[in-house]
Each structure stands twice: as C-alpha cells, then as structure tokens.
C-alpha cells in the first residue's frame, strides 16, 4: 500500500464529510426522537446524492456508477459513518451483489437501483439462523416451472424502504461426510408479490429510524427469472459479492468514532474542574491519547484491507480483522467519550449517548465479533492442519 491519499481521494472524503455535516446532521435529532425519516427528507437526500453523482458510486461506470475503487468507496463510507444511518441510507449504495444480474434482470433491478429508482434490501438472517447461515429454514420448492417460497426472515434492514429484496433460500440438501448440507439459491422478490408480507421488526437500541423488518413468505410463487445467479449457487454469489460489505461496517465505525472523539477533545479543552481544564488531568488526557491511537489504527487497518481488494490480493482475514477491531474500538471510544463528558455525556443534549447505543450493533451484524475471530483464526490455523 502506498500510505497517503491522492488529491482526488482527499476531496472525495472532504466532500462527503461536508455533505453529511450539512445535509444529515441537522435532521438527526428529529429522526432519533420520532424513529422515522419523513419521506420528503428521504427524497431530498436521495436527489442531492444523485445530482452529485455519488449515488451508487460503488458500482462500475459501465452500469452507471462512479467506478470507485474499494479504497475510495471505503472513504465515502467512512465519512457517511459520521451521520445517522437512518438518513445516510438514502445516500444510496445498492448491494453490489446486484452485479450478478443477468439479461433482462439488469433492466428490472440493476439499472433502476443504480439510478435510484428502486431500492433494495438483503435478507439472509432468520429467527433460527443467524451466524449459522446454512441452518436456514426458509426454503423454495419446484412447482411446474416456478418456485414456491416459504419461511421467515428477520432483522432485515431497510426493507421498509425496499422496492425489492434479495433473499437467500434453501433449495435442497447435499449429503456430505460431515452430514447434510443445505444448497442455497438467491432470489429477487418484488414488494407486493403475492405470498410475500413485510411487517415491522423489533425496536432496536441502535440506529433508531433505520428499521429492521420481518419478511414472511407463504407459498410465494416466483418464476425462474427471479433467480439471481445460478440455482443452488447462493453461496457462490454470497462469497463473490458479500465479502466486501464488512469493510463498510469497519470504515463507518472509524468515521463515527472520530466524530465522538471530536466531542471529547473539545470538552476536555473547555470543561474546568478543580480550577483547571480537565484535559490537564492525565486521567482524562490519557484517555484521549488511547482513543485517537485506536481510531487511527482502525482507520489504517480498514483502508489497508480495502487496498488489498483493489490489488486483487486475498483479503478475507484482513477484512475480518478490520471489522472486528474497528467495531470493538468504536465501543471503547464512544464509552470513553461519555466518560470524559461526565454526567452530561449520558444526556441527549449531546449525541454521545446515541453514538454509544449505535455502536453496539456493529459488533453483531455482518458477522459477530466471534465469527470474525473464527474467520481470522481459521485462516491462520487451517494451513497448519490445526
């Protein structure tokens, strides 16, 4: 990796940061209070993002995206991470798995998603299958030339705003020496398809307004044209396209941590107790030193993982390390930022209590910390036969 960013990369980050500061920050408190994003506001954010050419900037230029590298996209996500996810959701970054669209699927899903006309959500998790994706019960069976879907998905982010959902479903089972193993197929399911219902999920402590939904499939009939990728090829699709989304989580954690840190630094330099700025007490100043050190470490770890992807190098372990470290760093940094603020840190006069709550989910979604540790350790030990 070449350390340091190019002028364009700096400008991309600066522009997104400013966008978030001016277009997202002012609305955060209201979204937090109501748990809703007014649709006019959502449309306004979407329109501005489209006008700036940032919408779907993670997609290649030949399908209408901006063709950003993984590193550049990580910078965009990092700055978006400063803002409320309920709102930055409309700074659209469709799932890059849509690149697996073939033929007329491109016109129905890929291109409209890139143009901001249709929004997507991705549904893997079920009440009985979280970390253990293969344990899924949601299944599809053949009926004539069609598929009949049954089952439940939960925790599906953004499904309330989605025009279609990318759903992973079991389509059979293979006998292996280790026991039966599910075959998985990916489907594109339009909102409003008979047999597909959507309902409000749980109230989460993290990211109010960025809702998670429950999806129910009850004899939902889908033609072959709704299969994304190959039949029984769900794992291939997942591995090819979902690999990189953990970088998004990592880099958003870095952005949010920097925002929390800025509050802490400022407060330490202003607040006086015992006749001096609290920043003069080592008990406070050393916390700041640890915070910034960890933030920088997570930042470089994440950008280095993204850079490996750009270079076509294996990056599975590096991405897992970045996701693990950055999400755990964010928990520590937001906690410390509150500590530096004393009692005021807990009050919703400051956004710190929100950052602290929001931080909690980052260690869970897109693979829990334990699953990341599993990935990292397997990559190290498997080649050694352990």
């Amino acid at each position: 990796m070449q350390l340091g960013l190019s002028e364009e990369q700096e400008m991309i980050a600066a522009t997104v940061r400013r966008f978030v500061e001016q277009e997202i920050y002012p609305h955060e408190a209201e979204v937090e209070r109501t748990g809703e994003v007014p649709s006019e506001l959502a449309e306004q954010i979407k329109k501005k993002t489209l006008d700036l050419g940032f919408y779907a900037c993670n997609f290649p230029e030949d399908v209408g995206g901006a063709g950003l590298s993984h590193l550049e996209f990580a910078l965009v996500e990092r700055e978006l991470g400063r803002g409320s996810m309920a709102l930055t959701h409309f700074f659209g970054r469709p799932q890059n798995i849509l690149m697996a669209c073939e033929g007329e699927q491109k016109d129905r899903y890929l291109f409209p998603a890139v143009r901001g006309e249709r929004m997507d959500a991705l549904a893997m998790t079920e009440p009985g299958a979280g970390s253990d994706v293969r344990g899924m019960k949601c299944s599809a069976r053949r009926d004539g030339g069609d598929w009949i879907l049954n089952g439940t998905k939960h925790f599906i982010s953004g499904a309330d705003h989605a025009d279609f959902v990318i759903v992973f479903v079991a389509t059979g089972e293979d006998d292996t020496p280790k026991g039966p193993k599910k075959r998985i197929t990916t489907f594109l399911v339009d909102r409003g398809t008979p047999g597909f219902t959507l309902r409000e999920g749980y109230r989460s402590v993290s990211h109010r307004g960025y809702k998670n939904m429950v999806l129910e499939f009850d004899d939902c009939r889908l033609p072959d044209a709704q299969v994304l990728g190959e039949v029984d090829g769900g794992f291939a699709v997942m591995n090819e396209w979902l690999y990189a989304t953990r970088i998004t989580v990592a880099t958003m954690c870095v952005g949010r941590a920097r925002r929390a840190f800025d509050y802490a630094l400022d407060y330490a330099a202003q607040r006086e107790q015992f006749g001096q700025k609290i920043g003069k007490f080592q008990g406070v100043s050393f916390q700041l030193a640890d915070m910034i050190t960890e933030i920088d470490a997570a930042d470089y770890l994440t950008l280095a993982a993204a850079d490996r992807l750009d270079k076509g190098l294996p990056a599975n372990r590096e991405i897992a390390s970045a996701k693990l470290y950055a999400s755990e760093m964010l928990a520590r940094v937001t906690d410390a930022a509150i500590q530096v603020h004393g009692g005021m840190g807990l009050m919703d006069d400051y956004p710190l209590e929100r950052f602290w709550r929001d931080a909690r989910v980052e260690r869970i979604w897109d693979g829990t910390s334990e699953i990341q540790r599993h990935i990292i350790s397997r990559e190290l030990l498997r080649p050694l036969g352990a």
Binding site: E8, M11, I12, T15, L52, G53
Partner: protein, 252 residues
C-alpha cells in the same frame, strides 16, 4: 466572456481558532484549511454564469503558499475550467496583504483579459475587505461590492448590494469587479465526476516575482488576542421579568 475568480486558502470556518501563546497570531499548525467561504460563493456565481451561457470560461486564481493548490483543486472540482497558483510565501503564517494581492491580480487581468472578476467581499481570516476595491482602483474598472444579486446584461451589470438598512441596486459598466456577500447564492458541493476531472484540468504555477510584485508585508501585527468570552445568559420566568431586567440594564 472570461470570469476570473480569486480564491484564498484560510483556516476552516468550523475550526475553533486558537491564539498563539506569544500573541503573534493564530495557531495554524495542523488545523484544517479550506477555501474562504465568500470565495466559494464567488466560484459558484461564476459557474452559474457559465451554465447560463453568459460566461465561457472560469479561471480561479490563488495567491499564497504552495498548499493553496488544494484550494484551487476544490474550485476546479466545483466547475472552474482552469487555475493559476501564484506562490508568494513559503510559510503558512505569512499573510499576503490585500495591496500585494490586488497588484498581482491586476497583472493577471492584463494577461488574461477577463470581462469580469468575482471575489469574496472579505477573507474570514483577516477580514480586510479591501482586495476587490484595490483591484478596481488599480485597473480603473467599475466595482460592485457586497453583492447579493448579480445580473449581467451585455455591456453593463445590475448589482444588488447589501448595505446598512437595506438593499441598493447599482448599474455598472463592464468590465467590472464584483465582491460577493453571503446571500448571493448557496455554493454547490463538488460532484463526483467533477472531482475526478479536476486533476486533469490545467493548473499553472507562477511566483510573485513572475509578476514583478513585491509582497513584503507593510503592516505590523502588534498583538492578537482572544475575543472576550461571552457571559452566561440568564433564564427569566416571564415577559414581565424580562422587561424589568432589560429596564434595569438600561436596554429599554
């Protein structure tokens, strides 16, 4: 018509400014620097003129340290066509004074022959509010300062000025120098395609000597101090109480 837009690299408006311990100025080490916000408005106006077909080229100029190149790239990413960097100082703490800036700009105007110069009404670091006016005097051009509206119509321009107590509209002969106020427009964000294009746009690098202008400071800064801290407010229980307090303070 070509439009020339001078832009200055200044301390970012979001940064909490700290005065150096020796009072010689404000601390610029490791602080975020950005384009002077009034200059952003000037760039925006120039680009809008181009989009409206009233200008065909927007040239941004910055005079200062080499790092002002970043400020020019921002102008290019917003939509300026090319840029001229005039390196006039090595030390980021050296502020090039308005007269020197105006003299260099006058030379650039001679070379470039723009039909219009749009500048910020002042830079937020030293608040001089002088460069545009001095340039007007040096060139013998008309000027419209504190513009909140600008209409170009052939060989003249209508400029609405924000003056104490209201708005004043003046008609000036082109070519002219306009200095812009806050309410003229809302500057755009750089679009992603323009950010990617900015690097490929020409950026000429010159020095103050190239224009034969002596930039040695003529002003001496005696002392810089923090503004007095705002006193805490007081919450009153009723309008009557408020009126009583104001009377007490001699405010009503």
């Amino acid at each position: 018509m070509k439009v020339l837009v001078p832009v200055k690299r200044v301390i970012d408006y979001n940064v909490k400014v700290r005065v150096k311990a020796d009072g010689s100025g404000v601390d610029l080490a490791n602080v975020k620097m950005s384009m002077n916000p009034f200059d952003e408005i000037a760039v925006e106006e120039a680009i809008r003129l181009k989009e409206a077909g009233k200008a065909d080229e927007v040239v941004a100029v910055s005079i200062g340290v080499k790092q002002a190149q970043e400020t020019l790239r921002t102008a290019l990413a917003m939509g300026a066509d090319r840029a001229i960097l005039v390196v006039a100082a090595d030390d980021v703490n050296t502020d090039i004074e308005p007269l020197a800036v105006a003299k260099i700009l006058a030379k650039i105007v001679e070379e470039e022959q723009p039909g219009l110069v749009i500048a910020g009404k002042q830079a937020i670091d030293n608040d001089m509010n002088a460069t545009g006016q001095m340039l007007s005097a040096l060139l013998g051009w008309s000027q419209g300062t504190f513009a909140s509206k600008l209409d170009i119509d052939g060989d003249h321009a209508l400029i609405t000025r924000e003056v104490d107590g209201g708005l004043q509209t003046i008609k000036v002969t082109m070519p002219t120098i306009v200095t812009v106020d806050l309410r003229l427009n809302e500057p755009r964000y750089a679009s992603l395609p323009n950010i990617m294009k900015a690097k490929k746009k020409p950026l000429d690098e010159k020095t103050a000597e190239d224009y034969g202008v002596d930039v040695t400071p003529r002003l001496e800064i005696v002392k810089t101090t923090e503004p007095e801290t705002r006193k805490a407010g007081e919450i009153v229980g009723s309008v009557d109480e408020l009126v009583a307090k104001l009377k007490e303070a001699g405010a009503v």
